[in-house]
Amino acid sequence: MDFVSGLRCRECGRTYPAEALHVCDFCFGPLEVTYDYERVAATISRERIAAGPRTIWRYADLLPVRDAAPVDLGAGFTPLVRADRLAAELGLGELWIKDDTANPTGSFKDRVVSVALTKARQLGFKVAACASTGNLANSVAAHAARAGMDSVVLIPHDLERAKVTMTSVYGGRVFAVEGSYDDVNRLCAELTSEQPEWAFVNVNVRTYYAEGSKTLAFEVAEQLGWQAPDHVVVPIGSGSQLTKVAKGFAELYEVGLLDDEPAVRVSGAQAQGCSPVATAFAEGTDAIRPVKPDTIAKSLAIGNPADGWYALDAIRSSGGSCASVTDDEVLDGIGLLARTEGIFAETAGGVTIATLAKLAAQGVVRSDERVVAMVTGHGLKTVEALTDVVGPTATIAPTLDSFAEAMAAEAATTPRSPR
């Protein structure tokens, strides 16, 4: 038995039953799951969660579906890593990295897909589908295989090679669309009208899917000893993850899992080549103008972010900020995180770290704050981005002389900090 009371339109407030609905029939506003928090509060406890599985399903009381055997590859409960070396580089105090590269298919998407397909299966869907910039494609294909469902995944044709392979290997159907992600997304939104028997996880099951991102906030709080951080930095693609992270902290207080009302500042990170939310934030407007993306951070390359309004609202109402960084800064961010903390992030993680660095330099993220940065995807997914950036120190013959020569040459050209 779940604690869902229904669905509600975020725009006009009309209510709907918890079925396979995703937009308001009246105004097209997105539907959001509502819960009976009093009943959740009467049931949930820190002990009950601690006794649960080491996955997102330990928070089932605050998820929109309950199932004795969910569609599950073990998503969630990823490491929260104290990042003192990175903090020192950035002039920060207490900094933590939420390392979501450790998920089964290497990104936070496993959280949302596990929730979406568990609900989709209960609703009777036999086919799992999605529009994806890559990470979601990987996760949908893998979880569908796990659940014995057919899958149909649509991606832009120019995705990173690893993301295409990591989708195709699971044996489902993969369509590379000659267009941008926004074209793929539009096609899938139209397809849902023609193929209503398919569960497009981020279209017609989106209402449930999006709730999975709350588990990032749940885990961070639990891993901090049931305390909320002061500031979180979250990458923005569609804006859904940031919005749900903010909702997650609020819900923990609502149901009594946090003693003090959290005052978490939520800041957003975008790539300059696709920064409609950061632009609106900088201009102080509510109008998010769609853009044509041009960035190496392909997983965030959504030019028309449907949840951008809500992300902007969550940022402003929490006292956070939003900034964007260049592709070169993204690569620097990937290198900085790898060099200081031993975590290899994909380009979206580079966006987060570079934006964190920028906001720290501006004094927006402060050294007296407990800060958490969301690193949401693994670097192996986007190795192309680093092809001309990192490589072997030298290529040598298998002889001691050759090694000594290369070491001497390297020492002469590369100043090293003491180890």
């Binding site: 105004c27 097209f28 997105p30 139209e190 989106r206 899917y209 028309n304 972010p305 309004w309």
Partner: protein
């Protein structure tokens, strides 16, 4: 004639039909023509100021009309206009 594609959510207004031919010389005229042919579209598609609601996307032959001239975008016979709810994943 412009071929207007109607999403599932609005097909209650068209008796279940997904494609409707409508006359008009701009995107705005076609959408108003759609409302004249099947009452109820205007209040769903337009906000109080007469612009497109923010979760309504309209595409003219695959291009978002917000990248063109919005409701003033000229249309020519044989083109397709799609009304699509705004959703985005990643």
């Amino acid at each position: 004639m412009i071929n207007v594609r109607v999403p599932a959510q609005l097909r209650t207004l068209t008796g279940g039909v997904g494609e409707i031919p409508i006359e008009g010389s701009t995107v705005g005229e076609v959408l108003k023509g759609l409302d004249a042919a099947h009452s109820g579209f205007a209040e769903r598609i337009f906000d109080d100021g007469g612009g497109l609601r923010r979760f309504v996307n309209v595409f003219l032959d695959e291009e978002d009309v917000r990248f063109l001239e919005g409701l003033d975008t000229p249309v020519t016979d044989g083109q397709t206009l799609s009304i699509v709810p705004a959703v985005a994943g990643g």
